[in-house]
């Protein structure tokens, strides 16, 4: 009976995703050459894809395992540079000459997988000693890792300051490697979508599996979990490694989307929204322990950030309101404070969206609201 239900929900999800994907491809075919679609929507989708992957993968460690990691962008940097260097090497070795065709697509997927694997190996190496520590100490180790990896990349002769090209600027990536221009971004948008959906599926499956239950037990009470036979440290390292893999994949997508790499993009903090601190913010905002929440929060953060920098309505505001947007960090802070006041567990808490459960959830939410209303009425009448 239970197996039947799982199989049915897999089928429903696969069908819906496939239908949405085909619809999207048709739309892309229709509007692919239009200015705004090509220049605004598609690049935004690319950025959303890697931000979603990054936030969701951190949620595995932060939300489900309950360990604070402040160096998540370090894994992304490893992924980005790995993918970029492999693609450059392939191009220089003459494996592909023009950026099209089956070979090129295979290389892109190869780069993405290699990026994930190297990030995972690094995650394993960092995780084994680091996860023996708890709480603040782990946070400091991961923070240190994030900073060290940036410096290491800067000083590696073949990738940092003057490897991918001269200076920290890597313009050559666009020309020769897997950096996509505006048109290529439209053509290969499906890669970003497929990779994101696949990775999210893998993460959902992980969370629902016995491993997921084990790490949630560890989060709730480490001693109790250990007493019931869960090998705490190996589960911690496993989750950390698994999470690092997807951060590496996010890095590869970043390399595709950006056509130039600079280590400042993967720092602990910077002026943008892609840094280790903001990933933590996204996870907290969306709800620790809800992958749905991470997805929504990543999209919201991207949207807010994009609108502050590029929205025409911001420029049209009266100057005194416009002043707020001169300090974008304050806007994020206010958003975060408001969310924490009204929803202390994040937007979604631990709720996960599910297509098959959607009708039930809606019914339940209605019932809850009606009950709350009735209660309030009663309270008033008893006055």
């Amino acid at each position: 009976m239970k197996n039947n239900k799982t199989a049915r929900s897999y089928l429903v999800n696969t069908l819906v995703i496939a239908a949405a994907f085909i619809l999207f491809q048709v739309l892309t075919g229709l509007f692919g050459s239009e200015g705004d679609f090509k220049l605004v929507l598609v690049p935004s989708l690319w950025q959303c894809c890697y931000l979603i992957l990054l936030a969701a993968s951190l949620n595995l460690v932060l939300g489900f395992l309950g360990q604070l990691s402040l160096g998540h962008c370090g894994f992304m940097a490893i992924g980005a540079y790995t993918a970029a260097l492999i693609s450059l090497a392939c191009e220089r070795a003459g494996v592909f000459t023009d950026k099209a065709g089956l070979v090129y697509i295979l290389i892109i997927f190869g780069c993405i997988i290699a990026a994930g694997l190297l990030a995972a190996v690094t995650g394993l190496l960092v995780g084994i000693p680091a996860l023996r520590l708890k709480g603040d100490y782990l946070a400091i180790i991961t923070l240190g890792f994030g900073m060290i990896i940036v410096n290491v990349i800067n000083n590696l002769p073949f990738c940092g300051q003057d490897g991918l090209s001269q200076g920290s600027a890597a313009a050559s990536l666009y020309k020769t490697g897997l950096g996509f221009g505006s048109k290529a971004k439209v053509t290969y948008l499906w890669i970003a979508l497929v990779v994101t959906i696949l990775c999210l599926t893998l993460m959902f499956m992980f969370v629902r599996s016995k491993y997921g239950r084990a790490i949630r037990a560890i989060k709730d009470d480490e001693i109790a979990a250990s007493a019931s036979g869960i090998n705490v440290s190996s589960y911690k390292v496993l989750t950390f490694t698994y999470s690092a893999f997807f951060a590496g994949v996010a890095g590869a997508l970043y390399a595709c989307a950006n056509s130039s790499l600079s280590t400042s993009s993967f720092a602990f903090t910077n002026a943008g929204i892609l840094n280790s601190t903001f990933v933590v913010v996204m996870v907290v905002l969306g709800g620790m322990g809800s992958l749905t929440g991470s997805i929504v929060a990543a999209v919201i953060m991207f949207f807010v950030n994009y609108q502050i920098a590029n929205g025409s309505w911001v420029a049209a505001l009266p100057p005194f309101l416009n002043g707020v947007f001169k300090y974008p960090m304050l806007v994020y802070a206010v958003v975060l404070v408001i969310v924490i006041i009204f929803r202390p567990r994040g937007i979604f808490g631990t709720y996960e969206f599910s297509l098959t459960r959607l009708p039930e959830d809606v019914k339940k939410a209605r019932a809850r609201r009606a009950a709350a209303k009735a209660e309030r009425k009663e309270a008033v009448s008893h006055g």
Partner: protein, 409 residues
């Protein structure tokens, strides 16, 4: 009720922030106050000529962006007052990239989707490199005010800049050594830094071309090194009177120069644009050591040429502060566009690109008189500035010489 109260409080906070933001920008000398002016213009911009400006207006490098967009605004105001370009009023569309490559690309895509084909930006090489490829693909012209990495202009056809490339600055220093009559020089540089070692490479290459002999080369390991006595003792022993020492202001002021003088080295010490703002980092007791120090910069605010004095006066008049080198290059970028559009006879990006690619055109700018080389980088000299001890524990600056492009090998 409680929730409503919270919401009200949050709203109050936002509004007070807004008020802070507004008053801070209008009250201080920071010239951000008038960015609201551009907004209404976009509604009625049927005939205006739009130029996009991408600069880091917020974030760590906000000072760079402020310089660039205020410089550009000043130039546009002057041009509009004088009748515009080809009879069209010019309008700037300013976007912020926070010195981040992704944000820079977003801003670029936004400008292109608005149909803007002429863009000024951005300040840093890292951010600018994210848009050079796409600009070539979209056939949009970019003039970078201060992105100095060599690779910025070499890869693509549509990219130009008004500053010299990193590699040219060493050549300018070598040319100055030649004119000043030194034929034996020494180098002290930081081996662990790209800026410093890059300048050392270009300086020694240019010395070879100019026929200057580099008799001693010493290095330090990191930019944070605070001990330079041994390096300068070696310079004294080698008997040189001219040492090229490309470092940043934070070690030049407190360590390099006082220690060099203490080690008995009395000759010339020459540096690059990293020496800018050094006087703020000198201890009072060290001030007498600051003689015979020379360095190259993008422009000199105290320059007495008519072009510079009128620019500095106009900038001070409008924004109340002395323009930085970024202000000068932002200002120049707009005037280079003006010259190119007028030469092309239209503001069509491809035509403007062709006009800019004409290497024989000479642009007379605040940051020097120059023409572009084939890659789109100016062939120009630089002002050589010297520090002088004011006698009261402070350091002054004086323009010594302007190295012209024709002096370069």
């Amino acid at each position: 009720m409680k929730k409503l109260f919270c919401l009200l409080l949050a709203l109050c906070m936002v509004l007070s922030l807004a008020a802070c933001g507004g008053s801070a920008s209008s009250g201080s000398s920071a010239p951000a106050a008038d960015s609201g002016e551009e907004a209404p213009a976009s509604a009625a911009s049927g005939d205006t000529l739009k130029i996009g400006v991408i600069s880091p207006n917020t974030g760590n490098l906000a000072a760079y962006g402020t310089g660039i967009h205020t410089g550009a605004e000043l130039a546009v105001e002057e041009i509009n007052a004088a009748g515009g370009i080809l009879g069209q009023q010019v309008e700037l569309v300013e976007l912020d990239d926070r010195a981040d490559p992704t944000e820079c690309l977003n801003a670029f895509n936004n400008l292109v989707s608005q149909g803007i084909g002429l863009i000024i930006g951005s300040a840093t090489s890292g951010a600018t490199s994210a848009i050079t490829g796409p600009a070539n693909e979209e056939e949009v012209v970019i003039i970078a005010p201060t992105a100095t990495a060599d690779s910025i202009t070499t890869e693509d056809d549509y990219i130009f800049r008004v500053c010299y490339a990193d590699s040219a600055q060493g050549a300018i220093a070598a040319a100055y050594a030649k004119t000043a009559g030194f034929d034996k020089v020494g180098i002290v540089y930081c081996a662990g830094d790209v800026y410093s070692s890059g300048l050392k490479d270009s300086f020694s290459a240019a010395c070879a071309e100019q026929g200057i002999e580099v008799v001693a080369t010493e290095s330090s390991a990191a930019l944070t090194t605070t001990e330079y006595t041994n390096q300068f003792t070696a310079m004294v022993n080698a008997g040189v009177d001219f040492v090229y020492a490309p470092y940043y202001y934070d070690v030049i002021g407190p360590y390099v120069i006082p220690q060099a003088r203490a080690a008995g080295y009395d000759g010339v010490i020459m540096g690059a644009d990293g020496y800018d703002t050094t006087p703020d980092y000198v201890r009072e007791a060290d001030a007498p050591a600051f003689n015979n120090i020379y360095w190259t910069n993008h422009y000199f605010a105290g320059d007495t040429s008519e072009k510079v004095t009128s620019f500095v006066a106009a900038y001070k008049d409008k924004f109340g502060s002395e323009p930085s080198a970024f202000g000068a290059t932002g200002y120049d970028s707009v005037y280079v566009y003006k010259a190119a559009i007028e030469a092309a006879g239209s503001a069509d990006p491809a035509a403007v690109r062709d006009a800019l690619a004409d290497t024989s055109t000479v642009y007379e700018c605040v940051s020097g008189t120059f023409s572009f080389d084939v890659s789109g980088t100016p062939v120009k000299g630089a002002p050589v500035i010297t520090f002088k001890d004011n006698g009261d524990g402070t350091i002054g600056m004086e323009l010594v010489d302007v190295v012209e492009a024709s002096d370069l090998a």
